[in-house]
């Protein structure tokens, strides 16, 4: 699956797979103001992130708006071999979302 917002890398080593994911997202808290117009920038943040391997969730995360802009996350799970797929998807508070998959290296 192609995705414009997700960059994901997965590397297998010693029977473990490390996943590194970068999601392009403004993660607006709703408290910032546009510097030119002075208008409040509406709250817009990722609420849910799921990473799965072989159809089973490896990590499910619930986020608030205080996760940094363009969130980066990394973690490790046992198993996984080069050539297999890891999937990641996100959903934000405005109904936006995307998913992407990476081949384990």
């Amino acid at each position: 699956m192609a995705s414009n917002s997700i960059k994901i890398k997965a590397k297998a080593e010693n029977g473990e797979t490390t996943v590194k994911a970068l999601i392009k997202h403004p993660m607006e808290t709703g408290r910032r103001k546009d510097k030119e117009t002075g208008e409040a920038i509406p709250i817009n943040y990722i609420q849910e992130v799921t990473c799965s391997y072989q159809g089973e969730p490896v990590l499910t995360a619930e986020w608030g708006p205080t996760i940094s802009k363009n969130p980066f996350m990394s973690f490790t799970f046992t198993g996984g071999a080069p050539g297999e797929a890891v999937e990641l998807s996100w959903k934000d508070n405005k109904g936006g979302g995307e998913s992407a998959s990476a081949t384990i290296k």
Binding site: P57, L59, E62, I67, S68, S74, F75, G79
Partner: protein, 157 residues
């Protein structure tokens, strides 16, 4: 069909999709892989105790050496503070990350699957110098670690 009819149809359609959008935002249509439904009360909470209670089911935490937090001492830019949390505890049900003085302290709750090692790295916003707190739920009990972080540029404005 005249223009007026088209307009009516368009209005109807956009109203309907608007309602679906709102339902999705409220979590009604989201597939639930998490056992516990997202607790909006936890994310809206303005104190660490309430946020922990709403997200982890209890607010009695024990400081534990089995939970480690790695954060640069002086990250300067509060908008991007790298945090690494790890634990040697087993049977981890969830991990919560909080920043004590943020207006809404709860940053995120992580539910490791069976395969995942209970450790992860992420970046959070720190509004002003404050303690970052990690809470790990294992065997129904809460274990925590905290670390003071000094920021020179707040990260929530």
């Amino acid at each position: 069909m005249n223009t007026n009819m088209k307009r009516r149809l368009f209005l109807k359609a956009s109203l309907a999709s608007g309602a679906v959008g709102m339902a999705a935002a409220a979590g009604l249509l989201m597939p639930r892989v998490v056992l516990a439904a997202r607790s909006e009360a936890a994310f809206k909470a303005e104190s660490v105790d309430v946020a922990v209670k709403e997200s982890m089911g209890s607010d009695s935490m024990t400081d534990s050496g089995e939970v480690t937090l790695e954060i640069p001492d002086n990250p300067e830019n509060g908008a991007v503070v790298p945090v690494a949390v790890a634990t040697t505890l087993t049977g981890v049900e969830s991990i919560a990350l909080l920043v004590e003085k943020n207006i809404k302290p709860l940053c995120g709750v992580f539910y490791p699957g069976k395969r995942m090692k209970p450790a992860l790295s992420i970046r959070v916003k720190v509004g002003e110098s404050a303690d970052v707190i990690a809470v790990v739920k294992s065997g129904g009990k809460l274990y925590s670690a905290r670390k003071a972080v000094k920021v020179t540029i707040g990260g929530c404005g």
